[in-house]
Symmetry: C2
Subunit: 339 residues, 2 copies
DNA sequence: AACGCTAATCTAAACGTTTCGAATGTGTCA
DNA sequence: TGACACATTCGAAACGTTTAGATTAGCGTT
């Protein structure tokens, strides 16, 4: 900027003024300055600007795994939204590990991000300290967090699973296996409630041996399914509460020599591009990823625009059951269908 | 830092010295300063540091679409690698649009990223200017770029498709449909050559009506497949040069009432987690995503470590044909198999 | 002609670091 | 005792912006 000022024979203040339009400067000087900028190929240094202004026009986004298609989609939407608003996005993957998440958040805070969108992990860790005192607004994504009272956008997980399991019950299933992730993660907790309530509403018992817990990965779904399928009185249907784990479920079914939906019905959480391409076409609970991403972005952008004092806002969106053909009717229902 | 200095009754220079270990300071002062840092809860301002040091410890990463599973995986690997090295990653999606890419790169450059990893789009645009004069090292990912002579890591696309198509030919296929993306993208160009050479090597004619071009999206694959399948003498196999497009291919086959592999064989580029879970299990060319991501990160980290003068390095990795059951043997071969 | 008003421009301080060179204190040696 | 080396600490400039307030010039009033 100094060079531009010299070339245009003005002060740096005047250059700054035309760059930002913060003061009226004569057409003559404006012209001279713009010419100098072009000649020199000057680009304003955003770091110096950030230092002075106290804002970086950058936000931090952390998710457990970007390879989980739900997060892939949401990250994509959020990135686009902030791009439109002139913000850059720093992406971090916490690998479902609390220490990693704490490190990442510190990294982001050190870099003075203007805001944070977090699909939290563990108990939230350092997050609890930040939301209270720091001046960087935080939006929780997908997962609420005890002790972190801030803006959030989540799904009505309980209702979504309730509907899915009720659907299985209506098909005639009585023993429905359930594979969940760590129950200290709010969606996992809520989904489990939905499962239990659906059974209870139908007057069915909740058999604890049908409930298996894993750590979100394919291998966990595989192991859980293996256990369920080797049960004395094995379930006729399995609901997997997470997408990567359902891959394991399908592989376990294949490896054990069974087939879906003939021998066992399968449904799961989170839709993905391939779910209706192959055989079987998977019945899933689709999350409104576009809306989730956009709402999260909007909540944060609103705070960034200055609305700091409004009380925390919690948005709860609805899932949608995508009925395909990975679940088959049982008993009398099966008769009437095949008749 | 000023507050810390005051609290510890020292100068800011001394605080900086203990923070960075750049000078010897007495145990006594060190102790007092560290105490003050804890008391105040001081965090060093990375922006001010960046301004002074001329480095942000942040890199920019742009990909066409993060929802393409190939890029999802590579982004994930790259993010992890830089995280380990203490760098933050700014992610941008260019949506396969050159103007968007130019905007994104400008955004990243404005923010003074220390380096850039780019899966380029179009003809590279602004990229050409940057590599020459700027002092930010650039690594090309997946796609080379005419006029941009810099570090790069790509696949041996030609060979990979050659092998895949040769495999189809060995199965007895003679008319093999080919669906490609824009041919100004180096991988698409090279893959096409691999296709043509495989046919020629087997003494087969290259039928231009079997080659269809799309814009990387599912819908393009769908339309292209529809056209191929309504050909008078339709192909017995289709190779799709890109992953999202093969979804369209599978959907078109389904919608037209055919089935894979009975009526038509399908193979495609890029493996993905579901490829061996459903029926049919897709035969794919798997890219070594882990290696690609790590090598790209290493090339850039090496430049960032100061190795600026080495001539551009181009890494070419090998793909691997994952043979599953979406391609069936034809003619005499089919006889011998079914016998 | 002196005055005040407005518009245009500039000077200089600030943002929070790093770092060079100077200053201070201490001990060693002739 | 003075000269010198060395270790420790500090003052102040610099990085490239923004911006409050000062300055200057031009112009209409009285």
């Amino acid at each position: 900027m100094l060079h531009v000022a010299e070339a245009a024979r003005v002060s740096v203040a005047t250059v700054s003024a035309v760059l930002n339009g913060t003061a009226t400067v004569s057409p003559e000087l404006t012209q001279r300055i713009e010419q100098a900028i072009r000649d020199i190929g000057y680009k304003r240094n955003a770091i110096a600007r950030s230092l002075k202004m106290g804002t970086t026009r950058t936000i931090g986004l952390t998710v457990p795994h970007i390879t989980n298609p739900f997060f892939t989609d949401v990250v994509s939407v959020i990135q686009q939204a902030f791009d439109r608003a002139g913000y850059a996005v720093m992406l971090c993957c916490t690998d479902e590990d609390l220490n990693t998440q704490d490190d990442q958040i510190r990294l982001l805070l050190d870099r003075m991000v203007d805001g944070l969108i977090v699909a939290r992990v563990g108990d939230g860790g350092i997050l609890k300290g930040i939301v209270g005192d720091a001046n960087v607004p935080v939006v929780l994504l997908d997962r609420l967090c005890e002790g972190v009272d801030t803006d959030a956008v989540v799904l009505d997980n309980q209702r979504a699973v309730f509907d899915a399991v009720t659907y299985l019950i209506h098909l005639g299933h009585r023993r429905i296996g359930y594979i969940t992730g760590a129950s200290d993660i709010s969606p996992m907790h809520d989904r489990m409630i939905g499962y239990r309530e659906a059974l209870q509403a139908a007057g069915l018992p909740v058999a604890e041996e049908l409930i298996r817990s894993g750590n979100f990965h394919e291998i966990d779904g595989y192991n859980a399914t293996m256990q369920l399928l080797s049960l004395h009185d094995r379930p006729s249907a399995i609901f997997s509460a997470n997408n990567p784990m359902v891959i394991g479920t399908m592989k376990a079914i294949r490896d054990i020599g069974l087939s879906c939906p003939e021998d066992i019905s399968v449904a799961c959480f989170d839709d993905f591009p391939w779910s209706d391409v192959f055989v079987p076409q998977l019945t899933t609970v689709a999350q409104p990823v576009q809306a989730i991403g956009e709402q999260a972005a909007n909540l944060l952008l609103d705070r960034l625009a200055g609305n700091r004092e409004a009380p925390p806002r919690k948005l709860v969106l609805k899932g949608r059951l995508m009925i395909r053909n990975s679940c088959r009717p049982l008993g009398a229902l099966a008769q009437s269908v095949s008749a």
